[in-house]
């Protein structure tokens, strides 16, 4: 049973465009939702994270939108750049737990 469903599997965007990656969850006990960025041959790196009491969080060109009633959250990358080409993972965790649950990942390609 996949606890965090991520879509799309792959995404191709032109330079300067907006990249949107979506995630959905079922477990209402999740209370922390981080996003990770992974380049080939490297480990994931924390990009941005949000708690469900906030509907949106922005850090530079990266924005998380959170819809608690729909149990969905998404990552928006504004003005996408070729250097943003990577695999992005959403994740979720229950407060007090150490078990971070990951989505399956989205491979983003930004064409110049």
């Amino acid at each position: 049973q996949q606890q965090v469903k991520q879509s799309p599997q792959s995404l191709i965007v032109q330079k300067g465009g907006i990249s949107i990656i979506n995630c959905a969850y079922e477990n209402t006990a999740f209370d922390y939702f981080p996003w990770y960025q992974q380049f080939p041959g490297k480990g994931p790196a924390l990009l941005i994270a949000i708690r469900p009491d906030v509907s949106e969080k922005k850090e530079g060109r990266f924005t998380i939108s959170f819809n608690k009633s729909a149990k969905q959250f998404s990552l928006h990358i504004m003005d996408s750049q070729p250097g943003d080409s990577a695999t992005y993972f959403c994740a979720a965790i229950v407060g007090g737990s150490e078990k971070l649950v990951f989505g399956k990942g989205t491979k983003l390609t930004v064409n110049p």
Binding site: Q6, Q9, Y32, P34, Y36, G41, K42, G43, P44, A45, L46, A49, F89, I93, E98, K99, L100, F102, G103, K104, G105
Partner: protein, 112 residues
Amino acid sequence: NAGVTQTPKFRILKIGQSMTLQCTQDMNHNYMYWYRQDPGMGLKLIYYSVGAGITDKGEVPNGYNVSRSTTEDFPLRLELAAPSQTSVYFCASSTRTVQPQHFGDGTRLSIL
């Protein structure tokens, strides 16, 4: 500033062999984790530790063992390697107040 260091980076094992994947961190983090990443499947938690002398199972612990004798080191042991354990293994660490984790660059393990 080394962060999380994993060794070896690559390894090929024969079925039935054993090996230890090493992980060390220099950030004095209490929490350490082992994940495996299979193509298109995201990351799955194998084992985790909340401090020296304390370990616990994650989502996919079968076939693996861990120990945590010091804060810095968290080795992962494969006793009888099986083809299903072919994967990329990531070690991670975190502080209690910052749930997101710092990842190493991984060990790519093939079992033939």
